[in-house]
């Protein structure tokens, strides 16, 4: 056990620090609060710049434009990005989930065709997994693809698709064989979102925004060479994507949480409760300290998981611990913020008295989704129970 950075890790960090120092945009604050539709070209440009420095996908192998970074180097990457408050990258699903899946399962032609444009943000990717009748039970999905000559004909509906409104391409899970067990008849298709018959509609969520979309497919023709992996092996391909989702996301989130607790502590020194700063209120101190501690434990769990994955080679079910931990913690952090702010906590962006431009009222509502998206807490607990503890499958 040695948590000091190795010489190689230090070198990686210093090189990145120097690059960020010279290249990170100075005007992100002017864009940060704007709707994603408006800031998207800005984020594309930033990703393009990162890619020119070969920093867009550090975890990817060198031959695909990455740096073959270890998990620890990836953690360093996100920490440094957060330290300089760098903007996020436009093609986050392409870089984080879909690119790695294409690298793992794609043909040489697919890698050649798709990977460079994922890196450059020239083509934005979205992910078509959930359906109105297939959420937690993803494998029961009904969107069907029928082979006709050299094309699949796709019909069905997807929901909760992030970046659907801006996506050029979609990693779509479809049913190609309805006669076999539900996990065995699925295939992953890479679909051009401009194909005739694809219709994207905004899905308004409880925060009032539309981060996600519904996508309808009506007789959409997809060339058969756009199958990712093997026909009817889509479940394995999709699960591999989900593992990336659960494994790496936590590392980035930790830094956002760290910023939240730092801000809450600042606020606690300013906000008065019964004639004293809230930071002197014994109960508020207990709650803030609890949050601070749990945010630190989230980081430590992540580091231990990284070490385990480094030893075993693949992301595994331990990602479920992280998913439960960060999503439930995020809700607790937002609740403490509400308690600290009192009635001001409910004020929305646009109200002149809203604290921090309404990020706390927004955060409170948005974090309700955290324990649902990317696999509900219940599904994660099933995964731990069955795959980690060896208890019998409950469903």
């Amino acid at each position: 056990m040695d948590l000091n950075l190795t010489a190689e890790e230090l070198q990686f960090r210093d090189e990145l620090r120097a690059w960020l120092g010279a290249n990170v945009p100075k005007d992100w604050d002017e864009w940060r609060e704007k709707p994603l539709e408006e800031s998207f070209p800005y984020l594309r440009a930033w990703q393009r710049k990162l890619n020119e420095g070969r920093w867009a996908a550090v975890s990817w192998p060198k031959e695909y434009g990455g740096r073959g970074a270890t998990l620890m180097q990836q953690a360093i990457f996100w920490e440094e990005m957060a330290r300089v408050e760098a903007p996020p990258m436009a093609n986050s699903l392409g870089l984080g989930l879909i690119g790695p899946t294409i690298i793992a399962y794609g043909t040489e032609a697919q890698k050649h065709r798709f990977i460079p444009k994922i890196l450059s943000a020239e083509e934005i990717w979205c992910q078509g997994f959930s359906e109105p009748n297939a959420g937690s039970d993803l494998a029961s999905l009904q969107t069907e693809a029928r082979l006709e000559g050299s094309h699949y004909i796709v019909n069905g509906q997807k929901v909760w698709t992030s970046y659907g409104w801006v996506g050029n391409w979609c990693e779509l899970v479809v049913r190609t064989d309805a006669s076999v067990a539900k996990h065995k008849g699925l295939t992953v298709l890479l679909i051009d979102m401009k194909s005739p018959g694809v219709e994207v509609r905004p899905l308004r969520q409880m925060t009032g925004e539309s981060e996600f979309n519904e996508i309808f497919f009506r007789d959409v023709r997809v060339p058969a060479e756009n199958v990712l992996g093997k026909v009817n092996d889509g479940w394995n391909v999709a699960v591999s994507t989900l593992m990336y989702e659960r494994g790496s996301y936590g590392a980035r989130l930790h830094l956002l949480f760290k910023r939240s607790i730092k801000r809450l502590i600042e606020l606690a020194h300013k906000i008065q409760k019964d004639g004293h700063p809230a930071a002197q209120d014994p109960l508020m101190r207990q709650k803030l300290a609890q949050c601070y501690a749990e945010i630190e434990i989230m980081r430590l769990n992540q580091m231990r998981a990284f070490s385990r994955i480094t030893a075993t080679g693949v992301p595994g079910p331990e990602g479920s611990i992280q998913k439960i931990f960060w999503s439930e913690l995020n809700q607790r952090v937002q609740q403490i913020a509400q308690e600290l702010l009192g009635p001001y906590g409910q004020l929305l962006n646009g109200d002149s008295r809203a604290v921090d431009k309404g990020i706390w009222s927004y955060g409170y509502l948005r974090t309700r989704g955290n324990t649902i998206e990317a696999g509900t807490s219940e599904v994660q607990r099933n995964i731990i129970g069955h795959f980690v503890l060896g208890l019998p499958r409950s469903y």
Binding site: M1, S307, I321, S394
Partner: protein, 367 residues
Amino acid sequence: MQFGLNESQQMLQDNARKFFAGECPMSEVRRLMETDTAFDKSLWTKMAEQGYTGIIFSEEYGGVGLGKVELILLMEEAGRALLPGPLFSTVALAGSVLDAVGTPEQKKKYLTPICEGRARSTVAILEAAASWNLADAKITASSGKLNGEKLFVSDAAVADSIIVVARDGVFIVEANAHGIHIDPMLGMDLTRKQYAVRFENTPAEKLGSSSGLAKALDIATSSLAAELVGGMQRTLEITVEYAKTRKQFGKPIGIFQAVQHQCSDMYLETESSRSAAYYAAWALEENTPDASVAVSIAKMYSSDAGRTVGNRGIQVHGGMGFTWENDVHLYYRRAKASETALGDATFHRERIARMVIDSGAELAKSA
């Protein structure tokens, strides 16, 4: 950066697990807990032969000279085995204090016999007010004579010396000195006995000032957190095993999500406690600026998690969990005693608050 055990650490952990399984199985734990002191001299001698009693102390004093991470691994295994007796009091607590505040002569006199397995010791901190703030100590030693009473002193009846945190410094007394009265306190945890120790003009030797104790108590606190982790791990294993074999409605109860999710939460709480305890040990070893925060995070989290994991474990066992025969309650009792020892979660949250809320600098640095 590598947050896993290296080969020699892995070996130490494996060996300790085998040692305790062989030398102190549950049948032996149950035998010892029914005795007055829960102490077995031959087991102690065997532990000394393994180097456990001198694990972190310098070879100069007969120790093995390993680090805090190794100590934590040993304590985790001791917790897993529910090891009765004074390993925690003597090594993690008294040994660390002697090491921190004793002069070289005092270490030769008191620490060397501990390392060599010839002596046991303990530290007396609490008084009637039961405060873990050392500044609240009322007991004093005027002209080398101690007067007053200490409570909740672990394993005092089998200690050869007792270290006393007094108002005017840290003192050590020989257990057979004049004017010592040691009376058992009947605590929930049957495997680690606690005592009220009264001093009447008892001759005491000064070790140093209380201000030198912080690091030693951090070592002991992280050890206790690790011991809790070991107890949680064992509770989890026993519970999962039961959930796989116990049948109701014709199915193993572990198939029901209400049961399964309790087990998953036990796993999450155990692993999170472990991450925090290991990191605290590493931070202490490396003297990182956040070492004390890390120790409080570990103790805070494992104090609460130890209890919660126990609650869940008993609940999953149903009626069996409520019987004397089932081992889960023995771990549960230890977890309750350890929850308050060296500060409960509330105490450590306030300590964290003092370090990260009151001095914004700490946070700004690590953010």
